[in-house]
Structure formats: C-alpha cells, structure tokens
C-alpha cells in the first residue's frame, strides 16, 4: 500500500531538455496540458446559436455569466477588460481541481510551485496596472489616508508587508486546501482496508468526504478569482 503522500509525487513520462536545462514532461505537466486542452475545446466547440443552444453552449455561457457577474460586483463597470484573465484563471484552477478528483489522476493544484506561479502572475499584474494607471502616485497606496505624517515610516513598512503577503496567502490557500483534502481522502480510504468487516463505516465517511472535496474544488477556484478581482479593484481605485 502506498503512503498517503505518494499521490503527490512527480514522475517523468518522457525526458526532454533544451540547452542543458532539464525540462521533462511529467505527470503534472500532462494534466496541466489536458485541462488547458479541455478548456480550449470546451469553449471552441460550444456553438454560437441564439435560437437553439446546445448543452455545452449553455454550460460555457453559464460559467462566463458567473465570471461576468463576479467581475461586475467586485471590480465595477470599469473591470470588463479583466474578464478574460479571471475566466482563464477560474477555469484552469477549476479543471485542475476537478481532474484531480478522477481516480488515479494527478492534482496539479496541490503543487505549491504551480499555485505560487499563478499568484505571482496576479501579483505582477496588479503592480504593473497600478503603475500604468497612477504612475508614481501609486506609491500613495502604501500610506493610508488620514494617518498622521509622523507615523509614515512605520505604516509604510506594514503596508508593504501586507502587499507582499498577498501572493503568498493566495498560493498557500489553494495549495493547502487541495493537498489536505486529498491526503485526508487517502487516509480515510486506508482505514477501510485496515478495519476489515467494519470498513463499511469508513466507506460512508469517504463518500461524504468526496462530495465535500468537490465543494472545495469549486470553492477554491471561486475564492482565487474573487481575491484576484478584489486586488485588482484595490489597485484601480487606490483606497
């Protein structure tokens, strides 16, 4: 029997290297490519019919409408141009989480380097947008309005720490939730074997946990995109 953490091990499928840099195609990369392909196909193959939308078209339009509402509520009417970004992030994370729920599949969102890369994309984006929109006035973001000026050295450091902690908290939240959920599922299903005849009780618990894990898969994708929207609004409105 494998250990509960065995499911997070990265295995090489075929080796590959460019100019001495080792870039093997791994099982994580396989599922990343699969989910990117699935999203692209899903959006491309959904019809463009107004009178008779197919089931796939309704599905894609529901997701798009959901993201549209999310951006409208959290950024405001000026946020329309960020819909493609939030839509891509949401669907990529959602498909990664849901592919991970297939038995024997690999959950790539349980790798901290991937979630950190996604969070870093958001972080660099909000910094760049802040500088483009406000120029050097963006630095006033680090000084809360109405605070006395002699508090500035302390407050600015605290605000910078809070700004820098955004990608860290964003990435750790997604990674920790996915990894903890999958480890817990594995541990509970191992109890089924070791309990013998009484294993049916843990089978019930595991099936409830699987439903819970599906909820977490949706919720974490949702939370990631909501926080992206909130950070974007913070930077666009500047206080």
């Amino acid at each position: 029997m494998h250990s509960p953490l065995h499911q997070f091990e990265i295995e090489e499928i075929f080796p590959f290297s460019i100019g001495g840099i080792d870039l093997p195609f791994t099982n994580a990369a396989l599922y990343m490519a699969l989910s990117a392909l699935a999203i692209t196909l899903m959006v491309m193959l959904s019809g463009r019919s107004i009178e008779k939308p197919g089931i796939l078209q309704i599905f894609v339009e529901k997701i798009f409408g959901f993201i549209h509402n999310l951006v409208d509520e959290n950024i405001g009417p000026t946020g329309q141009k960020y819909i493609p970004l939030v839509f891509s992030l949401f669907t990529f994370i959602l498909f990664g989480n849901l592919f991970g729920m297939i038995p024997y599949a690999y959950t790539f969102t349980s790798q901290i380097i991937l979630t950190f890369a996604l969070a870093l994309v958001v972080f660099i984006l909000i910094t760049v947008i802040g500088f483009i929109k406000h120029g050097f006035h963006f630095f006033s973001y680090f000084m809360p309005p109405g605070a006395p000026i002699f508090m500035a050295p302390l407050l600015i450091v605290i605000e910078i720490i809070s700004f820098l902690s955004r990608p860290v908290s964003l990435s750790i939240r997604l990674f920790a939730n996915m990894m903890a959920g999958h480890t817990m599922l594995k541990v509970f299903s191992m109890f089924t074997i070791s309990l013998g005849v009484f294993g049916f009780s843990t089978i019930i618990a595991t099936s409830v946990l699987i439903g819970f894990e599906f909820m977490i898969a949706f919720l974490q994708a949702y939370v990631f995109s909501v926080l992206t929207c909130l950070y974007l609004r913070d930077v666009i409105e500047l206080h």
Binding site: N69, D72, E73, N74, G76, P77, L154, V157, I158, E159, I161, S162, L164, S165, V168, S169, I172, R173, A176, L219, Y222, V223, V226, L227
Partner: protein, 88 residues
C-alpha cells in the same frame, strides 16, 4: 427582435441595480481568508527581516523587528476584513 430588445433592457436594468447593491456579497467568503492571511503576513515579515539581516549582517535584530511588523500587518488585514464585513 422585440423580444431580444426587451431582454437587453431587462439585463441593463439588472446591471444598474447590481451596481447599487455592490459589495453586499463580500462577506460570504471573508472568513475563509482570515487564518491564512494572518500567517502569511507573519511569514513575509520574518522572511523580509531575515534577508535584511543577511544583507547587513545584523543577525537577530532584523528578524525580530520583521516578526513584530509582520504580526501587526496580519492583524491589520484581519481588522480591515472585519470592518468590511460589518459594513456590507
């Protein structure tokens, strides 16, 4: 075609009303953020202090100050979330 126009008008009205009741749903996910926000601000503060120590060679001082500033920053984000939940 009139049906489509009617639906467009309905959608526009919905958008206008949604803009008025903006940020009423902010609190629903708020409490999921608290714990990790607190810890990550602390971690960033300590790491920042550590790197400043490495740079200046002032070994324990930067990390201690970073610890305090990080925890203040974590509690500040907790406080702001609380204010937002109260308002919304």
């Amino acid at each position: 075609m009139t049906d489509l126009q009617k639906r467009i008008k309905a959608a526009q009205q919905k958008a206008a009303s949604a803009a008025q009741t903006k940020s009423s749903k902010d609190s629903s996910h708020g409490f999921l953020r608290i714990s990790i926000d607190l810890v990550s601000a602390l971690a960033v503060g300590i790491l920042l202090g550590y790197f400043i120590d490495q740079l200046l060679g002032s070994k324990p001082i930067g990390m201690v100050i970073g610890f305090f500033l990080g925890s203040v920053s974590g509690f500040l984000s907790l406080y702001r979330l609380n204010q937002k939940v109260k308002k919304g």
